[in-house]
Symmetry: D4
Subunit: 230 residues, 8 copies
Amino acid sequence: MRAARLAQGDASAFAELDLERTARRGFPEAVYCAGKTAAQVGAIAAAVAERPDVTTLFSRADDDHAAAVLAALPDAAHDPAARLLAWPPQPPAPTGGLVVVLAAGTSDLPVAREAHLTARYLGRPSELVVDVGVAGLHRVLSKLELLRRARVAVVAAGMDGALPSVVAGLVSAPVIGLPTSVGYGAAFGGVAALLTMLNACAPGVSVVNIDNGYGAGHLAAQIAAPEPSR
Amino acid sequence: MRAARLAQGDASAFAELDLERTARRGFPEAVYCAGKTAAQVGAIAAAVAERPDVTTLFSRADDDHAAAVLAALPDAAHDPAARLLAWPPQPPAPTGGLVVVLAAGTSDLPVAREAHLTARYLGRPSELVVDVGVAGLHRVLSKLELLRRARVAVVAAGMDGALPSVVAGLVSAPVIGLPTSVGYGAAFGGVAALLTMLNACAPGVSVVNIDNGYGAGHLAAQIAAPEPSR
Amino acid sequence: MRAARLAQGDASAFAELDLERTARRGFPEAVYCAGKTAAQVGAIAAAVAERPDVTTLFSRADDDHAAAVLAALPDAAHDPAARLLAWPPQPPAPTGGLVVVLAAGTSDLPVAREAHLTARYLGRPSELVVDVGVAGLHRVLSKLELLRRARVAVVAAGMDGALPSVVAGLVSAPVIGLPTSVGYGAAFGGVAALLTMLNACAPGVSVVNIDNGYGAGHLAAQIAAPEPSR
Amino acid sequence: MRAARLAQGDASAFAELDLERTARRGFPEAVYCAGKTAAQVGAIAAAVAERPDVTTLFSRADDDHAAAVLAALPDAAHDPAARLLAWPPQPPAPTGGLVVVLAAGTSDLPVAREAHLTARYLGRPSELVVDVGVAGLHRVLSKLELLRRARVAVVAAGMDGALPSVVAGLVSAPVIGLPTSVGYGAAFGGVAALLTMLNACAPGVSVVNIDNGYGAGHLAAQIAAPEPSR
Amino acid sequence: MRAARLAQGDASAFAELDLERTARRGFPEAVYCAGKTAAQVGAIAAAVAERPDVTTLFSRADDDHAAAVLAALPDAAHDPAARLLAWPPQPPAPTGGLVVVLAAGTSDLPVAREAHLTARYLGRPSELVVDVGVAGLHRVLSKLELLRRARVAVVAAGMDGALPSVVAGLVSAPVIGLPTSVGYGAAFGGVAALLTMLNACAPGVSVVNIDNGYGAGHLAAQIAAPEPSR
Amino acid sequence: MRAARLAQGDASAFAELDLERTARRGFPEAVYCAGKTAAQVGAIAAAVAERPDVTTLFSRADDDHAAAVLAALPDAAHDPAARLLAWPPQPPAPTGGLVVVLAAGTSDLPVAREAHLTARYLGRPSELVVDVGVAGLHRVLSKLELLRRARVAVVAAGMDGALPSVVAGLVSAPVIGLPTSVGYGAAFGGVAALLTMLNACAPGVSVVNIDNGYGAGHLAAQIAAPEPSR
Amino acid sequence: MRAARLAQGDASAFAELDLERTARRGFPEAVYCAGKTAAQVGAIAAAVAERPDVTTLFSRADDDHAAAVLAALPDAAHDPAARLLAWPPQPPAPTGGLVVVLAAGTSDLPVAREAHLTARYLGRPSELVVDVGVAGLHRVLSKLELLRRARVAVVAAGMDGALPSVVAGLVSAPVIGLPTSVGYGAAFGGVAALLTMLNACAPGVSVVNIDNGYGAGHLAAQIAAPEPSR
Amino acid sequence: MRAARLAQGDASAFAELDLERTARRGFPEAVYCAGKTAAQVGAIAAAVAERPDVTTLFSRADDDHAAAVLAALPDAAHDPAARLLAWPPQPPAPTGGLVVVLAAGTSDLPVAREAHLTARYLGRPSELVVDVGVAGLHRVLSKLELLRRARVAVVAAGMDGALPSVVAGLVSAPVIGLPTSVGYGAAFGGVAALLTMLNACAPGVSVVNIDNGYGAGHLAAQIAAPEPSR
């Protein structure tokens, strides 16, 4: 019975792991921890331990989730701000185009780090730039040289979410808008920034879910993938 | 009876005109035409004709409203794009600080014109600048000298509504965000731009209702008023 | 004065054309017709006529807009369903990776065509596939071979907007979710599909605005761009 | 006085129990614990103890509610993940058609269990299947044989909520969409999944409230009821 | 080329007809006309003409769509209020349980008729009852005998959408809530009724999309299907 | 058959008239015309003609509805602005307390008239006051004597909907907030005014649906009813 | 200075008490505790202690607020479930018409008690009836005799909020809909019930804010006031 | 590496301080603490300590943020209710026009204090007035003399948010509407007040974000700035 198997730490009782996904789709699967119990996440980590050939990410991991992963995979890399764990801990050697991740403000940093680390663990070179909001245009303009080297830019912003529009007007690379839940009341937990980005007046912007740094980083890794990996 | 008085074109049957408002508040009252019948607007225009000492604006006037006003006040000024009429037709000599009105795109022009003309008819010098959206920063940066002469800037933008954030980061004058209903589906008739402006990451931005060029122009005229008029 | 210049058909009175954008950003600018008068669009078309070296797209063109463009550029290509015109009429020779555009249902076809034609006019090879909604999985599964050749997939869907999730689970290319306003009451003009796509349980999906086929096609052209053009 | 009666544990002070409902409607009443005090729930449990001939469910029971029920009915069955208690603890012998409950992901499991147990306690045979999201179509396709034996399917999904559309395209049985509050920001606590399901492009899907596993299970038991019980 | 084939009235250019769906899923496919051109609908009707063994429904057909269908299938049945056409015109002999469709008010009648006719054309016996809103409980109570014979009830209501709650409290059959877009401003085009039904305090209610009479009728036909057809 | 009976103008085919409602509930039923065909409304009017002892109101009647009513009841009273017809045309002699209806602006007048006439036809004395918005407090303060004689006040306002709060702070009578759909974009068709009134900081305000003048007038007539009629 | 006066417990530093309101408007003012500090509420209670001739209510009082009030007014009446305190503790002798308060379910009881106690402390006779939801019509029908004696009914309901519609169809008294925040996800914290009540298909229903038992009770006391008190 | 630098308390690792902003824009930058860690805020405070010539504000500072600031800047001024710190602690000598800040109720006081202190620290004379809601018009009317001396008024209000409309009708100065999150359920955390203010029927009102006292105070300081500072 499932309940019994779960008590025995058998992840197959509640999750169908897809460890062949890397071979099939070119990118490994991540374990979304929110809504899972620490016991469930721990059981998945134990199952993963048999496959060091595949990089596994654990996203949205709170302290309890992280402890359960680290109990099964003691050398896993852990970034608490980004709520992300990775195992094996060493990212692959970078291949493909450059991913540039921008955080409009310091408060957007945790989500931006999640995107940056995800792209890095999925095999891309990645650079992270912080505090370049549109209220001080000189800041973003000073990063133009870096931005123009990017194969894709991830732009994390809360509040008005205006930075992706400005960046997309400056570069020819595609821009992934990553709205964050930072802001006062009518930011509506990131909805204002999300709508701004969906309505970007510069073409070349698409949008992922609010605070979804993992999704933005994954997509960036796909866009910047080297030819052979597709 | 009211119905009879209305049939006789007596505006007092359905509207309490406040022609002393200029003396009391320093600014004349406008007649909001939407939701009024052409007959009602015409009756108000006829009542206004006795007071050439007060500038009266008719806002949100469709073709029928405009015809009714012009029947009563044949020399009234009429800007069909801005849906605005003014009588007497000549604006007062400009006093106070400069009002600069920016339209992010050509599609924002009708609303921006309504703001520009309102500020002008309420007695301020006003300049209108078009097509300076953030997708091409060089356009707005080329207007910096003008912007820095402004006592107040009105910034009309639809879609992402990002321009007020950028402008507020460049000048020390207050910025009035004027969201317009321009844009694709998730612009939600101006709500996206409205939220962007409410969440402007640069301080110094406040917001008026969607497409409310009259309100933006009136407020700008108050902010830029010369000392004696307050 | 602007009004006079506009009357003379001088587009510089209300629009700052950016014909150097192709050189600067690698992609030409489009003229968004909605909210502009036919006269304004016609004046822009006349200005464009001097630059056959740059491909110009006119998006969201209704019948009046189209007539105004065709008066100035009689040989422009016109797709009424997609509300798109292009001049010069011949798209550039295709370079870069393959763009595959999927329309979940026949009702999504106009928006999907706008994306397909935009990608094509911006220089990419592009294929359009119709009526592959998730209610009949065999339809989309029968297109797997084509999908796996794509450098990027644009997936247009209204109603439940579920197709991008399914496609992203099948391929390693990035997927651009293109929500359409097709559906019954609680589709809310495309909001339901938009939310579905933002919440895609398969990573690799990002989203553009509702019915924004132009934006999806432009972004796809950027993602699939050949190395030298970046 | 009511207050006194309540102090004495007399449930009739604040609740009109309807223990004849099974006879009248064919299904027993459940006690919705959320919003009730533990004392109120305990008093109801005590009243129920006199009627072992009727199965009573306590839904949305937090730890305090559960303790109060177990104090009055020590042998009640309790599933903490599903927040459900049942008394008498043994479900009736299964009659009628098969109810199949699917959970798209592990995080949807608590709500899916609530549906599964409710259907089971209301007398139906029921099977629960986990982690069959649309991001890996092979998972759901591997359950086709089971799905085609179902008289009704309950499909629990958060995030994009796309699974019910796919399932409804595969089977002829009715599908009950059960949206869960699992997901990132723009999942809006289950609203995105709810809208997806309401807009399912495959006919045969109807929807219950977000996280309402009890309602889904009850409805499934009605749809799959054997002829005599109707 | 598709465009050419479409010009020649070849439906395969834009639609993948699924005429084997009846054999596979037990219910025929419907053609959703909204968003399709009359020419497209007409081409589909012409293709359908070769398969009189399958009942085809055309839903959401406006006058132009209907004319196109009737040109290809002159003897098709047409209910303009329900915006529905069926071919062959004669519904199959009724089998399975009784479908009872209730319309709370006269204004809900077109949507209720669409549900009633759909259930009937998919092979069920069906009864339609009108003007039984909760403001006059005696009306609905007078239909109790009929309601208790139903295998499933479809309850169409706009405004407060309260009728499904009341009906579900009276019968043991499952209730399909069918919200309509009837009502004053804060009915929000059926959203208020939709929410009411999702929150029905009586278990046994599930909900379909606003004004989606086709979906409600199809689901009812599935629930009331005779054993062999499942 | 119903269809046949409807063709014969037999209202019982689609509506259950409740002409005994006056005896039972003390107030007659109204016929809500929106969503009904002119033929249906005309058939109801014909049925009503046999009962001159009961006052029947037809609300939300467009021109076609009105023509159908007047064909059956040629002497019916008709107020096109309020979209209301009444038969018999003469309202009953007024009894009970005074109903005062205020319209904040001229644009709110049609809805306010509907409330005023409804209260009058249901038997109350009623006064209508126009253009007393809070932007000019002296206007509403000049009506204090009348307001303090009211048994109940109906306050119609769009835009900010602030008038009910102010009135409720001035009088001890209950205030019915009647939001109207008048205003610029972020008025959201009356939602802004509705929310303002629901959040009135002065107690004593309750709210009816947007533009629901009939509902406000009916409720006012109930509140101000003379003792014997209850 | 204000800060100093506040430190000294001088309520005039932050609140303008209006103890003459009873004389002026006929009803005393209440102190809304939410958002005030316990120190502020305590200072107000101390100020109130000098006026035993006026009944003062403290609404939305959490435990800290209540302790502060009881420190200043030790004999104040306190109903923790309703979060209400009253001083002097004895309500006035009842005058005027009967207020009947209905709670659809037990979970709605705290809000219903707040309405009931408010009406009682403002001087009306009041009866409270619990657990009469529309899922069991026999419950509410069994209270008809009481309901028909009411001068006004307050009907508290969460979830579908359908009870006010049903009650309004049964009585001639006005009905105050009191939506509560009880329910599953798509109850949206009471919004669903609020919308249901605003759209009540029976006339005679108006609505107050979600969970606003104080407002409902105050309004009921005004509607049922004896003639001399108005 | 950034992480290392952050560990060493080097603010440049995660924030680009803009201490020249006073010289450039005329107003100093504030540090928005929400979303930053206490360590990050402390590092910024340490960097600021080298620039006593610039006034730095720390907004939205919780207890941990405040402790970190005070550790680095022990003599900083701290207003816990307004969640604001300022350093150097002494505001500049007041210049420019008078800023009047009104709080509708005591619960609006924290946000109003944030606006008042911000204006004061940015160099303006400022007065704060409390508890002048529209439910008691005599309160606001008693402040008319002060209001008419204002160069700009900031009006903080929750619930119905009606006060800015009333104030704008009384004065010729511009009014900044500052919605607060105070209120019952349908206040929606300040959205109701925000919408009211956006729809103010008196011209001269603009709006900032919910609870954004800092933004309102900053804008007021800009509007009331003395001529030379612009």
